[in-house]
């Protein structure tokens, strides 16, 4: 495989940004239902 055909590897910075986006999006979606339900027990 020549240099042009090989898929470009992501930089560490790009990988970090993708990881961060996934963690924030999934984290928000997971925490949301628990938060909306559980706060009733603390008020």
């Amino acid at each position: 495989m020549s240099e042009e055909e090989r898929p470009k590897e992501l930089t560490q910075k790009q990988k970090f940004i993708i990881d961060l986006i996934i963690m924030i999006a999934v984290g928000f979606l997971v925490i949301l239902p628990f938060t909306l339900y559980a706060y009733h027990f603390f008020i």
Binding site: P7, E9, L10, K15, I18, D19, I22, V26, F28, L29, V30, I31, L32, P33, F34, L36, Y37, H40, I43
Partner: protein, 494 residues
Amino acid sequence: MRTFVEKIKKPLILILISIILMILTGIANTLNIANSGPFNLVFFGAIAFALLMFLGLLGLIFVFLHDRVFTIKPMSTRIGKIKKLLTNTGIFLMALFISLTALLGVMLSYYYIRLPPSYSVDPMLQLETWTAIPPGGQIEKHHKSNTDLYYWNNSFYCIYQNSKWHLQDLDGELVIERSPDASAGSWERIASIKGPGHNDVRDPLLTEINGTLFVYFLPNFLFDPEPNTTYYTTSNDMENWTEPTEVKVNVSYDENWEMEVGWIFGRTEPITNDNNTWYVTAFGEKNGTWVTLLLETRNGIDWKEISVVYDTYPSGEPCIEFLPNGEIISTLRVGAMSSWTGYEFGTPHAGTIIATSYDNRTKWSHHADFQTRMDGARLFKLVDAENITRIFAAGRNHLGPGLVGNHLGRKRTTIYEVKEDRLIHVFDLPSNGDTAYTGVAIVGDEVYVSYYTNPIRRDLPWIVGLAFFSKSEIRMAKFSATGLINYANTIIGG
């Protein structure tokens, strides 16, 4: 070996398709396109986008955990392969749990954003609706519910449950507010009623018997509310109330009469047509069977059984109204007229029993109607131009999707005409999520209906409005009595 970005392409495409379906389904719901009935476009759209979203999230989270968090390396030995298999299984289960929870988060976000349909009605009804009592800024008291409306001494009185949410709230209360004209911003809080050492109190009924004001209400002792008795308190001025006392009922058995507690009053306050005897319906257990009884009193305190209204299947929240001949018509909420109770997902056998008394209210005939289960209702009567009495109900319409009672279904507060053998849908009031539990006051030619609902800028499913976005307000609807009769006359089958 494929890169991480290549691996998450397919899950991301599934998520993208799901989001497009969500938008289309939301628009169809808002435009009232194929969005009601047990099985419809919005229902199947929701199933399809939820499934695609789940698969997309599962794929994305599995790849993320596998490649970026636990970074599993290929292993060539047998023990290494077994280790890899076990690790992958663990990661899959973790991804499954996270994706299911995230799916719930997606659905809540979708319902929060989804716009409601328009609530247009025929102009002849002269319908006006407004927020009478807003949720308020106090988060521990932002759920206003279970209304009753009473017109007394030229003022409107609204009594309602004030709590943090629909489920058990040990710091709840019943509140009475007064208004000269029921308009927005005119309501003034004048009294608070709490239970005897227990403040989860709900389903108030406000009336006057022999010059004394009575509030009957139900204390609840369970997380998922299921009241099992009735209390009452009295007043002479609507502001100062006596210590609550448990209602006792004299119940007839084959050999004797027994004074019992544990009878749960229905949705209609005691009614009279001679100012001598007042009637109410109550449900409870008699001889091991769940029955609804008609009771009578002369003073609001001593109650006595007159007849069994209905005992075939467990029922609740009965409503009553007098017919012109002195007999009584009643609607009863029935969870299932079979052994298929289908609690969370509903059942095709849920419905409303319409019972009509005869032989001086001692016997009852019955008809079943399956278009809705009449939750949280109130009956009221009007007399038309031909001097014919017409019975109407303000109660809950189970719009679906899914079967009646489905927790994910949408519900509305709705006006029905009640015939002795069927219900006729007349029109929906602006409402969504957790709604209904109405009060009715008729002043001149105007019908006032109080009800509670999640704020109407959204269209929440019932369970979402109940357990997650629990803020609710008390709305007032005002419409012409003549207009209602004229409009009901135009409905085919009416």
